[in-house]
């Protein structure tokens, strides 16, 4: 895949293949079983019976980062945890997506002012696709975030030359 990435011209074949791949990716988002804080409980509620994330094909929580496509960061990331979050993200296979769930992860939340130890938003550590604010977000909000992520994935091109989404696909991660 590597050499083919976004090099082919746009024609019927590449359009169709991209469409199929995009459909496959967006219909099968396997999240990582990763809970940090309060938001993890609401995330569990989303997996559970009332909300049932599996309806969208996203209900196969994988315990290992290698097999998961989506990392939902549910809860405050602090200095000690940030290194681990970064490593987990690095261990995931492309394409990988990040949802920042909750106010703490979006920008510090209640801990922004006096939290000497908290990272003010997980986007300081890893690139984030979708921010879901709330403290904690209602399950509906997380569902909405996942639906937005589905739309976003569906728009991404794989073989075709990229237009405006190039930045979101090929980010440079600095020296880290």
């Amino acid at each position: 895949m590597g050499i083919l990435n976004n090099t082919l011209p746009s024609n019927t074949v590449t359009d169709a293949v991209d469409g199929v791949i995009g459909w496959g990716r967006k219909s099968s988002i396997w999240p990582m079983t990763f809970g940090i804080a309060c938001c993890a409980i609401e995330m569990m509620a989303v997996y559970a019976a009332t909300f049932d994330l599996d309806r969208f094909g996203a209900g196969v929580p994988r315990a290992t980062p290698r097999q998961s496509d989506l990392i939902i960061v549910p809860g405050t990331v602090n200095a000690k945890m940030a290194v681990r979050v970064k490593r987990l993200y690095d261990q995931m296979a492309e394409p990988r997506y990040v949802i920042a769930m909750g106010a703490c992860v979006c920008g510090g939340g209640p801990y922004v002012k006096w939290g000497y130890n908290t990272v003010k938003g997980v986007h300081k550590i890893i690139p984030v696709d979708i921010f879901v604010p709330g403290c904690p977000p209602r399950p509906e909000a997380l569902m909405d975030g996942i639906l937005k992520l589905r739309d976003k994935i569906g728009m991404n091109d794989v073989f075709r030359r990229q237009k405006e989404t190039a930045e979101s696909m090929n980010r440079s991660y600095g020296h880290l």
Partner: protein, 356 residues
């Protein structure tokens, strides 16, 4: 098989080795296709069964009607996912392990009679072949666990080795019990014997016991709950396939569901009448009618046992590793031998049990 060779001779004028190769290619291709389609269906079924046990709906969106295309989407995604080989892993071993695992269980399918005449090779040692070839799978798992260079993977591989090797004994011993009654290793003979007499599960209490022992130990062989220790998610993250991603990981999925299929199919063939309908004598039917009905009947029985496996998985907690071992050695092995000897005695005196 022979029919296929003849067909190729008639249609394309192929003869000898060429016809044989073409026939093999078609057979293997169709089994491969079957396995792929079956696995996708089984994964979808597993998710639906799990969901309905857990008061939810399971996949509902992908593909429209009840998320039927969910597994297709999963496959497409896995196919186009990055394939990571960890730097510290042994790359060749890491690469070859999924193939070894998958070949092991896949090869077992070639001796299975799906209906009258629908069988790739009618081996005289069919049952023996399946058991023997399925043991290759454990080697692949050990390779995978070792080559990943991860502690969780290693734990998973060692657990798998201990568990599968231990449970081969009760599996094989329990299989010997119907073999003793029928007097053959050939899978087709079981179908004909059960068509002529009765289903072997009703033959004697010892055969029912052997069926139970076989089913339990085949769960352990397939790494299904409550014996899913090699990939125990809450203990070992993902066990031996912790480091696998993308398509390689999906081979382990295929392997798991295919070995479930083989186990369920052996249960159905050896004890539950194979492709025979109950209370109906289909031996005189025209092959064109008997073949599709046979396939449907056999698959229906097989999927029932697959359903039971899923049912157990989503109901029971997982055993601990030493409890798995003690269950195998302290209960299943002795009782399998008891069933074997008791059947020998039972059949020697020709005792009946049920009015069949």
């Amino acid at each position: 098989m022979e029919a296929l060779i003849g067909l190729f001779g008639e249609l394309f004028g192929l003869e000898g080795t060429l016809a044989l190769s073409a026939a093999y290619a078609v057979c293997i291709g169709s089994i491969l296709g079957f396995v792929t389609v079956y696995s996708m269906f089984a994964i979808w079924m597993e998710r639906k069964v799990a969901a309905h046990i857990q008061v939810r709906m399971g996949p509902m969106v992908t593909g429209g009607w009840h998320g039927w295309a969910q597994s297709v989407a999963d496959a497409v995604k896995l196919l186009f996912k990055e394939d990571i080989i960890p730097t510290r892993a042994n790359a060749f071993m890491f690469w070859i392990a999924p193939a070894v695992v998958f070949c092991g269980v896949f090869a077992g399918l070639i001796v299975v009679p799906f209906a009258v005449g629908v069988q790739v090779v009618d081996l005289h040692l069919g049952v023996f072949f399946i058991i023997a070839i399925a043991s290759i799978e454990v080697i692949g798992v050990i390779i995978a666990g070792w080559a990943s260079n991860s502690k969780y993977s290693l734990f998973g591989a060692v657990r798998e080795a201990a568990q599968v090797v231990s449970y081969e004994i009760p599996t094989a011993t329990a299989l010997l019990v119907p073999i003793l009654v029928v007097g053959s290793f050939r899978l087709n003979d079981f179908n004909t014997w059960q068509a002529e007499h009765h289903w072997l599960i009703f033959h004697s209490p010892w055969l029912a016991m052997a069926a139970l022992i076989f089913f339990i130990s085949s769960l352990a062989g397939c790494k299904r709950a409550p014996f899913d220790l090699p990939e125990a998610e809450s203990e070992l993250v993902s066990g031996f396939h912790t480091e696998y991603s993308g398509m390689r990981f999906s081979f382990f999925f295929l392997e798991e569901y295919t070995s479930m299929f083989v186990a369920a199919l052996l249960t159905a063939t050896l004890w539950f009448g194979g492709f025979n309908l109950p209370f109906v004598d289909s031996s005189a039917w025209h092959p064109a009618l008997a073949m599709p009905i046979g396939i449907v009947v056999l698959l229906a029985k097989t999927f029932f046992f697959i359903f039971v496996q899923m049912w157990l998985r989503w109901t029971l907690p997982r055993l601990r590793v030493d409890q798995v071992m003690s269950m195998g050695y302290k209960y299943l092995v002795p009782w399998a031998f008891v069933a074997l000897i008791a059947t020998a005695v039972w059949d020697y005196y020709g005792w009946g049990w049920l009015p069949l």
